[in-house]
Symmetry: C2
């Protein structure tokens, strides 16, 4: 008999079906037992009354893989509107031990480190699955949004030949007789790409050898990066990014309403018009007025500042998203300072619910200026040979942006820790599973 998914049983009332899945619950009420089977379609209740079948299941552990032939019967009190009766049960993969976490409860009663240690089991939990279903939607919607805006997807390399290309806090790789490094950002490659394609994006792991253990940092992250040529006004990049944010949020709202409901959260609220935009100087003034506090970092936001200014945007503009622009002049060699205020750079962050979803800058496209900046910073032109080629032989005004997949996921669910939004997080302590 061909397999029927739990979700499709309602189309087969009265028929006998074959379902396959994991035993997720077993409620024993004496002569009658209710077994709940989990498959990728959801959960279905199986009523077990026959003594022979009862004997088969009564000792089984949660997680046992079962194939069950049974009859579909209307059951209005269940989620699916149907249940299975008169089953013939086959044990396909038995489980010998009680699972170390009760992943089959609505909420797993365990600390985050335990949930991560038992990731192979905790991804069997319905709510946790919801997080990563949303994450898959973000990935898909990001790509579709950029493709609809004429961007081409490309594969950037993760192995990099020179450390300086990757900046500080870079991981070193033993590469045959020499050293390689893990990319901290695909930026130089996407800049190269647009000399050919004008608009390019990539989704890539990036690596940061940062020792500090915070709730928003990991050593391996997924970045969703884009780069765009022929940008004379940075507002044009903001528009592209804003469309991405809107497309992602609207896809999650449409395709993951069940998952959002499970967590009792709603997607970030967008204003009817454009996402509000303020400069860092304006932001710091607002924060000072609101809290009396002045930022310790020059023309930059600390985590608590990000929360304050997002609260302000929520209140004043009814928006969970906010552009903050013109941060302190960039220390990297590739970002333009603002000609009208050389203390600041042509840079922009998109904040959402108190955290940075995206950051980006307008890049220097002039070869001579890039080379001069490199010299000033003691960087070797030779290390950037390929990169500089792209500019030496003609590059239009251009800009780029980078969304953090885990941060986006985190803020949709209002998680406090980025690890909740990461399947297999890596940090100073954690390299497994």
């Amino acid at each position: 008999m061909e397999r029927t998914l739990s979700i499709d049983c309602k189309k087969k009332k009265g028929e006998r079906v074959l379902v396959k899945g994991w035993m997720d619950q077993l409620r024993r009420l004496g002569k009658i037992n209710f077994l709940v089977l989990r498959d990728r379609g959801g959960y279905i209740q199986v009523v077990v009354e026959d003594q022979k079948e009862l004997d088969k299941v009564k000792q089984l552990q949660i997680g046992t893989v079962l194939y069950i032939e049974a009859q579909v019967q209307e059951a209005k009190q269940t989620d699916l509107g149907v249940e299975l009766v008169n089953p013939e049960i086959s044990v396909v993969s038995s489980v010998e031990h009680v699972p170390p976490v009760e992943y089959n409860k609505d909420d797993i009663n365990a600390s985050l480190p335990t949930i991560l240690d038992y990731r192979p089991l905790t991804i069997r939990n319905k709510k946790i699955q919801g997080v990563f279903k949303v994450q898959a939607t973000i990935l898909k919607a990001f790509r579709e949004s950029l493709r609809s805006q004429d961007f081409i997807e490309f594969r950037n390399p993760v192995l990099i030949g020179s450390a300086s290309e990757s900046g500080a806090d870079v991981f070193e790789v033993k590469y045959f007789d020499r050293k390689a490094y893990l990319c901290q950002s695909p930026q130089l490659y996407k800049q190269i790409m647009i000399g050919g394609f004008e608009r390019a994006f990539c989704i890539t792991p990036v690596f940061r050898a940062e020792k500090h253990h915070t709730n928003r940092h990991l050593t391996e992250l997924t970045h969703m990066d884009g780069e765009i040529a022929f940008v004379e006004d940075y507002h044009n990049v903001l528009k592209v990014c804003e469309k991405v944010a809107r497309d992602v949020i609207s896809a999650v709202e449409k395709e993951n309403s069940a998952e959002l409901k499970l967590w009792n959260v709603s997607v970030p609220k967008l204003p009817k018009g454009q996402i509000p935009e303020i400069t860092i100087k304006e932001a710091l003034e607002i924060i000072e007025k609101k809290t009396g506090k002045t930022s310790k970092r020059k023309l930059d936001l600390e985590p608590e500042d990000e929360r304050e200014i997002c609260e302000w945007a929520q209140k004043e503009h009814g928006s969970d998203l906010l552009w903050v622009t013109h941060f302190y002049k960039d220390k990297n060699f590739y970002t333009w300072n603002d000609p009208n205020d050389p203390e600041t750079s042509l840079s922009y962050d998109l904040l959402c619910r108190g955290i940075e979803w995206l950051s980006g800058t307008v890049r220097i496209e002039k070869y001579e200026k890039l080379v001069a900046n490199m010299k000033k910073q003691g960087l070797s032109e030779k290390d950037y040979d390929g990169y500089l080629q792209a500019f030496k032989y003609g590059m239009p005004p251009e800009a780029g942006f980078s969304f953090g997949l885990e941060r986006m996921t985190m803020k949709i669910f209002n998680f406090k820790n980025i690890r909740e939004a990461t399947l297999f997080p890596r940090d100073v302590e954690r390299l497994a599973p």
Copy 2:
């Protein structure tokens, strides 16, 4: 004035437009000059007659970024059917030197290493762009095909805690006070995933510290991996993979006909029915009959065997694709041997035009069997703690597969070297750009 892409000029005959792009050609015929501008939409010819404008352009190098206001005029002899006349030209980014490769010719007259050294310029070539446009289509079609088959996308980690998890030829990373390794395959993670989701896929860089320099190996590659639960017969996996291959080929045929035409190639030919399937034993017999040669590797194919057997499939079955199954019993701990022929394993390769596009196996889902196999091979259970969890607490029969993105691209274009199908290839010698 708002920008018009070259490709859209034909809708604006008689109007003045603003085009932006790179100077790709300049044909000087005395008083009249033909300038070809490249943008992401294609190429458009600009007729330059006015002396002032002539003076501006006559010294310009290929690659110079120009903004041109001009009038659209019918020109039946051109590809677009229109050209631009009476231009006003602005030089936006000037180029001081003659580009070191003539990327603006139909074919770049340079060796492959040179083409790779100058990748930032050679991706400005129309034919080379075509390769990576096709690659982007493959990525998109792969994901769409698996999503349509109910697979969920996930992000696997690249940093791995134990070397053995990654096998031989693994790259070592300095990870704070200890060592980490770069993943050779996301396999263990996708196996973990299906305990929750049944069907999962990921697209990821994988790393091989292989010293040999061949035309089909790189140290960093893109794998497109899937894993599927509730597979009792491996033919069901083959069906899933076959749909992926068909969907990818048909997407490339539809969306990239211009690129295929440029290279004068056609997509791999598929049979009307299923892709032919033979065992390795049958394959070796056919090769021996055909060439008199016996394979040096036990129940495995050497590169020339792959070419021979693909020629046979072409001739006998009219198919550029061929399944070869049941390779010599697997040395890894996680693959089932064939119960009917324990000398062979439940393994399958999808060959295309003489090279492996995909390989996969049916996995051992029994916890005790996995642990026994690990012991036999001297592997530490502790290193596989997370992985084993998934099996200890209930895993159905399952199988997986891995497509190579660069190999697929390579064989669509009939390239001899995988580097031609890779934007920024990494090998023993090459780590740049």
